[in-house]
Amino acid sequence: MFAASALNERNRRVEGIYKALFGLMTVLLVVPVLIILGVLIAKGGPAVSFEFLFTPPTDQGRQGGILMPLIGTIWLVVVALIASVPIGVAAAIYLSEYAPENWLTRLINLAIINLAGVPSIVHALFGVGAFVVFFEFGISILAASLTLAIMTLPVVIVATRESLQAVPMAFREACWNMGATRWQTIRKVVLPNAISGILTGVILEVSRSAGETAPIMFTGAVTFLPFLPTGVLEPTMAMSLHLFTISNSVPNMPDEIKYGTALVLISMVLIMNAASIAFRVYLRGKKKW
């Protein structure tokens, strides 16, 4: 009664082929990541030490550590976060909670998606024109961070909107039915349940901007500075540009410093990603519905 027919046999073979195919693709996806990390750890690991992180680079980076670029990247990311999060979150709240469903809203949403696709070098040139020249910030952390902020705004908006829309509509309807205004509903029910997702999503997206080079290289990052910035109107070194410079423009650069710098940069991004994913998993466990 349960004897396999020819069709059953064929289905089983096809099933096996597809499973193997999809599995293989997954392996192919993971392999490059592992190779990159493996090579960086093997070749750069020995160079990375407490001293390497907190010693200023000397001799165009051939000696010493990466203190200035490391601190500079933290400046850039933090100022970019301060600029993009309030604007992005507010815009996402408007689009998700207030905007009527019409052609204008659809157009704005389409524009946001397209903005995410603008090449970073175009953002960089916009940043030069707008922040460095027009607003007269000069080559500065502020100009570079605002350029990063504009570049990351679309992803901030999309991440926020997704978190907001993950809050069931029924909760909003229940609140509105009680006579709550939109803002009361957002404040009492929507935001408390979305804020963690918003924060993790936003940090995740913005931390990626730590690795960007093009948007900052004309607007605020310089190849060498012997001191740390003391304010946002000063230029700074940055990890990504430093790596680009020492890999490309400095002759007789010791390999382990290049690999070590790359390892620190990728670790910064990975650590922030991991922290944000861990935070998300923790919060998912506490989900209230």
């Binding site: 909760f171 309807e173 229940a174 006579g179 709550a180 205004t181 009361q184 009492k188 029910v189 209230k288």
Partner: protein
């Protein structure tokens, strides 16, 4: 067995809580409820029965102007609530606060049990802790839930069982001090025993509030409703004393067929 004359002036007599005239509800171009006129009396349970898609839920939504949060739903006609045209009420939030709503599937907000019930008073600006405590206890008691949850008011409302959540939403609706309570198939996700408890609660409540109850369970309308309206295919077929509807002295054959379970 009198359907109000649509051409007559809206009744403003004191025992009419809600007076609906020529109400038409559309989604986009399509009218899903046409030309409904009826009166709901003060302190009665007014049942609405009818098959799915007959416009019952949309009718409820139009009563507290929830059509305004929808991009496609539009409403024509007039609704007098306590003698005032709801479409001329400037403060729609105040209107909605005076009308409690209970949904088919219980919506326990992701707040504690206490906060679920205290939310409406808080929205109205009540901050005094003892007033809030008193409101929470009173509303949970009236919704027949207090004894089950009094020791864990800080637990999440959304983690209660379905039947408890539905009583929680009733308590929440009562915390609005509503004059009108709209129930949309409240027992759909609730076990029969809890349904009976809630029905008892409703019988008591009608001393204080007017209740409009949409139900798919014809027998539930018979048990609870003082008067019942029958909606079919976007039209009000007739309104009558519930017992008359069920004992056969109805004008319309379609009503008789529906209550006797011959279609629907």
């Amino acid at each position: 067995m009198v359907t109000p004359d649509p051409t007559a002036a809206p009744s403003a007599t004191s025992d009419v809580k809600l007076s609906v005239r020529n109400l038409t509800i559309s989604y986009g171009e399509e009218a899903i409820l046409r030309d409904v006129s009826l009166d709901v009396r003060e302190h009665e349970i007014f049942g609405i029965i009818g098959p799915a898609g007959s416009g019952k839920t949309s009718f409820l939504r139009s009563l507290n102007r929830m059509d305004e949060v929808s991009d496609t739903m539009s409403v024509e006609g007039s609704v007098l609530f306590s003698g005032r045209d709801i479409h001329e009420v400037r403060n729609v939030y105040n209107l909605r606060q005076r009308i409690g709503v209970v949904f088919p599937l219980p919506v326990g907000l992701p707040l504690t049990i206490y906060e679920n019930v205290a939310l409406s008073p808080r929205l109205r600006g009540i901050r005094d802790k003892s007033t809030l405590d008193e409101t929470v206890e009173r509303c949970l008691t009236r919704a027949a839930l207090w004894d089950e949850v009094k020791d864990r008011l800080d637990a999440l409302g959304s983690l209660l069982s379905g039947g408890q959540q539905q009583r929680l939403t009733i308590a929440r609706a009562l915390s609005q001090d509503p004059e009108l309570l709209l129930l949309d198939e409240f027992s759909i996700a609730v076990d029969p025993v809890t349904t009976m408890r809630i029905e008892d609660v409703l019988r008591d409540l009608k001393q204080e509030v007017t209740i409009i109850m949409v139900t798919n369970l014809v027998q539930q309308a018979r048990r609870l409703a003082d008067r019942t309206a029958f909606f079919l295919n976007g039209k009000l077929v007739e309104v009558g004393e519930t017992e008359e509807l069920f004992t056969g002295s109805v004008q319309d054959q379609r009503t008789r067929d529906y209550v006797e379970g011959r279609f629907g």
